[in-house]
Amino acid sequence: MAVEAHPHPAAGRITLAFSTASLAPRDATLFKSFVRLLDHRTHHKWVCATDTVDLHVVPEGVSAPRDAGAPATAVLTVGTSRRYLAHFLTLPIHADELETELNKLGALIAAGRPAPADQECAGGFRLVRWPPATLLGSPARVRLAAMMSAGPLTLQAAQLRAGLSAEDCSRFFEALGQAGLLCEDKGSSTYTVAPQPRPETTRLAQPGLIALIRNRLGLAGPRP
């Protein structure tokens, strides 16, 4: 890990606490070691705690502990496959990536807006190009890819509109990501094609036109 010379932030850094109680012992030790090494670069001072914490670091597939009635605590998920969450750290840990996530989360927490668990990347993901047949593999995936070709899609929206399970959508996103066919949309409203609605597009706003066409062609409707 390259350690750059970096002026130590002023003594007025806010101290934030994190917990690694849910991580495997080896991952927890590594994580805490990295945080200590990055102390001179992070915008906040991060300390490991066991009681009241500002950030839960959890492995993928595990929910952060939450006290009833207490506000949601920020969550950083660590793993290898669920890369489509807003705050996710890929294993093996890279110092730059951890520094970025800690600074982002620290800013949110300091501003009083902890990121809820399982929050997705706001802008969604879009296709870089149409996927190969080996990745498509099923009519459901073809339909999902067609949705994504029209514009960015979040994992949640994909699950809702494609009628696939969260796991299936996640696997497809992961496969696309590994093939280099996916890029994160930074929350802009642009589509992969021109975003400007044309006057004739108002026809699309006619309630039910697409449903009428589907019905005439004998096609099942999409999930709402």
Partner: protein, 180 residues
């Protein structure tokens, strides 16, 4: 009577008239003339345009227009593209340069492709497997177009219906984004 339209385009002999006929509730009405181009192995070819139609449950019509394939009719493409819901580009993989052919329609319908929905359907792949669908997808991406690319037998109604469904899915996604 309110009409909606979807366009089918592609080179002469790519299967536009056939694809429309596979799903239309009326036999496609064609403005065919005798083919005088010896390079094209067809007795007749579409000189103007042809269309089929589907009647929706509310009485409105969905017109399926097949554009003339030759580039000299490009002026008609712009007229037909106005107000179209989407575009199906039929590629004939038996031709010498299918990707160069594709470029003609990507350029000719650029505005419609950017604003509506588009599907590229490649025919005759069973006898002419190259370029493959990957090559088409990569070529489209280089041209800034991300859209479904699928193989097609234009005679098969089910496959043509699948094409149309992929157009509808794109339109639904855009509607969902625009109204969000």
């Amino acid at each position: 009577m309110i009409e909606h339209k979807i366009l089918f385009t592609g080179t002469t002999g790519a299967g536009k008239t056939t694809a429309i006929g596979a799903v239309s509730e009326i036999p496609p009405l064609s403005t065919d003339v005798r083919n005088t181009d010896p390079a094209v192995a067809k007795a007749m070819t579409t000189a103007g345009l042809d269309f089929g139609e589907l009647t929706l449950a509310n009485g409105e019509k969905l017109r399926l227009y097949g554009t003339p394939g030759q580039q000299r009719f490009e002026f008609m493409w712009q007229i037909l593209a106005k107000g179209a819901l989407g575009l199906v580009i039929l590629a004939d993989n038996s031709r010498p340069e299918p990707l160069a052919d594709l470029d003609v329609y990507l350029a000719g319908f650029r505005k419609l492709i950017a604003e509506a929905a588009c599907v590229v359907a490649v025919g005759r792949m069973e006898t002419h497997p190259q370029p493959d669908l990957e090559a088409f997808a990569a070529h489209l991406a280089l041209r800034g177009v991300i859209c479904p690319v699928i193989p097609i037998d234009a005679r098969e109604a089910q496959q043509v219906t699948q094409l149309l469904e992929l157009l509808l899915i794109q339109l639904e996604s855009k509607m969902g984004s625009e109204t969000a």
